[in-house]
């Protein structure tokens, strides 16, 4: 079987992409170097000292370019023995053989360098990806035909493996005849995000928080470098202009950050489409960088409907899925529907997951557990209030207002919590800030826990936690402070795994 196969190379643009990638990683030290060296201006008479940083910069660019070219030249891939084989490296030769039946999915990305040449980046994802950051195999830039060829080779290899036992049974003829008919996979379009949805998603995106915290981190990093005394004088002058101007400046800053985040979401989620293949979900999105992610249906561990209170105002919700294996890099939670009309959630879920019971969980908690939702908060709240009152005497008393807020929040969480068991499926609903409804099949729950503190036992309540595999980690679905009898019922349902299984 191991006749010499044709070996393929990547597109030459790989060299440039590799170079830019390394450059991007090295950009911070470079900037530091230039600032430290470059802008002195004063001539020492020796030209190579004056232009040292530029020389270093130039040498670096050239060496990166050369290494990019070498990387591209030495990279080869081919198909042999039902494996995808990759060979790379100049001094240390790296060979990586990936059996086709271990490949979970192929993800495509089209960056700005790929678009003009009709190329794609292919990421090969296997079940046991060793590290989350690096995909097991990556073809940096190949033509679309070449990408198709990988897919075809993979499909053929999988088919061959399926045939093997059948041939042994001697029924080969009629089955082989059937398979090619099946082979053409029928893509079914499920969902396309409308422009209006996209706008709502962008404007309410949590990206704002991310960018804000990023700015805060940046500021805290450079906090020591800033001349505070000088700034203090400036600011006090600033304040004389009036609080209004300060407020406007802050507001404009926030607005700018927000617009940036809206723009980024618009670019990354432009033309968001979900398609259903035979046994995969295919997500396509992006304007400048086009991304195509494939999630095998049988790898999906649980479906979670997330209802953010702000988005709920507009009548929208999010559907996320947890998948085994790191098919989307670090995060194993994939926002299948980043934004969708709340009323349509059930219809979409039924279409993609016909086995799922998508009814709302109906069993609510009794009042027994309610105090536990806010009682623990008093542990940190009372000292804080005490301290505030002591140090800022009259105004510190305002901190008492936090008590009703905490209690209301706790009662809100208690009211939202619910669960239900339908056949082999457990549904758990709980609120952090957003309301999460997790739909889990029994065979996808890795283990379950029931937790009871001393106070829980006195009141007869318990918390139940279901552990779901999510990429390389765990997703905990939990209903807290429920009646202990009900909690035991859930455990009992889980325990009878043997008799009820399929």
């Amino acid at each position: 079987m191991s006749e010499q196969q044709q070996r393929y190379k990547l597109h030459w643009i790989t060299a440039i992409i590799e170079m830019l990638k390394t450059l991007k990683e090295a950009i911070l030290p470079l900037v530091v170097l230039i600032f430290a060296n470059g802008w002195k201006g004063g001539g020492t008479g020796l030209w190579y000292v004056d232009y040292l940083s530029f020389i270093i910069f130039g040498v670096l660019i050239i060496s990166l370019f050369v290494s990019g070219i070498i990387k591209w030249k030495r990279f080869e891939y081919w198909f042999e023995d039902d494996e995808l084989r990759i060979e790379s490296g100049l001094f240390v030769k790296k060979k990586r053989y990936i059996p086709f039946d271990r490949i979970q999915s192929l993800d495509y990305t089209e960056g700005i360098f790929h678009r003009p040449f009709g190329l794609v980046k292919v990421k090969v994802e296997t079940a046991g990806s060793s590290s989350a950051k690096q995909a097991e195999g990556e073809l940096t830039a190949v033509t679309k035909e070449a990408a198709k060829r990988v897919e075809i080779e993979m499909a053929e290899a999988k088919k061959r493996q399926k045939e093997m036992p059948v041939v042994a049974e001697g029924e080969a003829t009629n089955l082989i005849a059937e398979i090619p008919v099946e082979e053409e996979s029928a893509h079914r379009k499920i969902f396309t995000m409308t422009t209006k949805d996209l706008l709502v998603l962008a404007t309410t995106s949590g990206g704002v928080g991310v960018i804000l915290s990023g700015a805060a981190i940046f500021l805290s990093q450079f906090g020591e470098l800033l001349p505070f005394e000088w700034m203090f004088e400036e600011i006090s002058a600033f304040i004389r202009f009036g609080v209004l101007i300060v407020a406007i400046a802050v507001f404009l800053g926030l607005l700018g950050v927000w617009i940036l985040s809206v723009g980024m979401t618009l670019l990354s989620h432009y033309n968001f489409t979900i398609e259903l293949d035979k046994e995969d979900i295919v997500i396509t999105r992006g304007l400048l960088e086009k991304k195509k992610v494939t999630v095998p249906l049988k790898r999906i561990q649980s479906v979670v409907v997330v209802e953010n209170p702000f988005r709920k105002l507009f009548g929208y919700a999010t559907i996320a899925i947890h998948s085994a294996g790191g098919s989307v890099g670090q995060s194993s939670k994939i926002n299948l529907f980043p934004i969708v009309k709340r009323g349509k959630v059930e219809a979409y879920l039924e279409e993609i997951f016909p086995d799922l019971h998508v009814e709302e969980p109906t069993k609510k908690l009794t009042v027994k557990g309610r105090p536990f939702y806010y009682r623990i908060d008093f542990v940190w709240m009372l000292p804080v209030i005490g301290a505030l009152t002591y140090f800022f005497f009259p105004y510190g008393l305002f901190s008492l207002a936090i008590i009703p807020v905490i209690i209301a929040y706790g009662m809100w969480q208690h009211r939202s919590a619910a669960y239900d068991i339908a056949g082999n499926q457990l549904t758990m609903r709980f609120r952090t800030f957003s309301l999460q409804t997790a739909y889990m099949m029994k065979k996808r729950i890795q283990s379950m826990e029931m937790k009871q503190s001393y106070f829980h036992r006195r009141k007869g309540v318990a918390s139940v936690i279901a552990n779901i595999k999510s990429g390389m980690g765990v997703y905990h679905a939990t209903v807290q402070h429920m009646d202990v009898e009900e909690a035991e019922k859930i455990l009992l349902w889980y325990e009878k795994s043997k008799s009820v299984r399929e």
Binding site: A324, K443, K451, I468, K469, S470, G473, E488
Partner: protein, 159 residues
């Protein structure tokens, strides 16, 4: 009310935890002595001495006598044909249920202290979580590991 799992961990586990408690207490005592020296050198108030002593004694009582005892009383496990059940916890009692079909692999491991007492701990891994039974007699742990791996192999894997 759900019945408790049947098996306790080895009584020797209690000794090991007490030993850990002693080690922690000794470390804290060294810190306290260091503090005492500082008090002496810098002439800080004298009442720090009795305070240190009281804190140290309380710490020793909790971590050497009370906590290991409660923890040991609480720790129970049971390996049945189709699932493993654990119960443990000091303040919060945690009961964990692991179906045999979900078990991916079982390890036993042994540090120097555990080896001295002829003990081993056993870790049960599912695709997402790891659960540890901390102190079992070595032979028992090996036997249990074998049993779990046989039971787990019977069930097919479908993650």
């Amino acid at each position: 009310m759900r019945a408790q799992p049947a098996n306790r961990i080895s009584k020797k586990g209690l000794k090991v935890w007490r030993l850990y408690g002693w080690i922690q207490t000794i470390i804290l005592a060294l810190v306290a002595i260091g503090g005492g020296v500082l008090v002496y050198i810098f002439d800080w108030p004298r009442w720090i001495y009795p305070l240190e002593a009281v804190v140290l004694l309380l710490f020793a009582y909790f971590i050497i006598i009370l906590f290991p005892k409660v923890r040991w009383m609480r720790w129970r496990y049971e390996v049945r044909e189709s699932e493993i059940e654990l119960q443990h916890g000091l303040f919060i009692v945690k009961r964990t249920l692991i179906p045999m079909v979900r078990v991916q692999h079982v390890d036993t491991s042994q540090g120097p202290i555990l080896r001295k007492y002829g003990l081993a701990e056993i870790s049960i891994s599912t695709a997402a979580t790891v659960h540890t039974i901390p102190a079992l007699i070595m032979g028992e742990a090996d036997e249990l590991r074998g049993r779990i791996s046989v039971l787990a192999r019977v069930a097919e894997d479908d993650v």
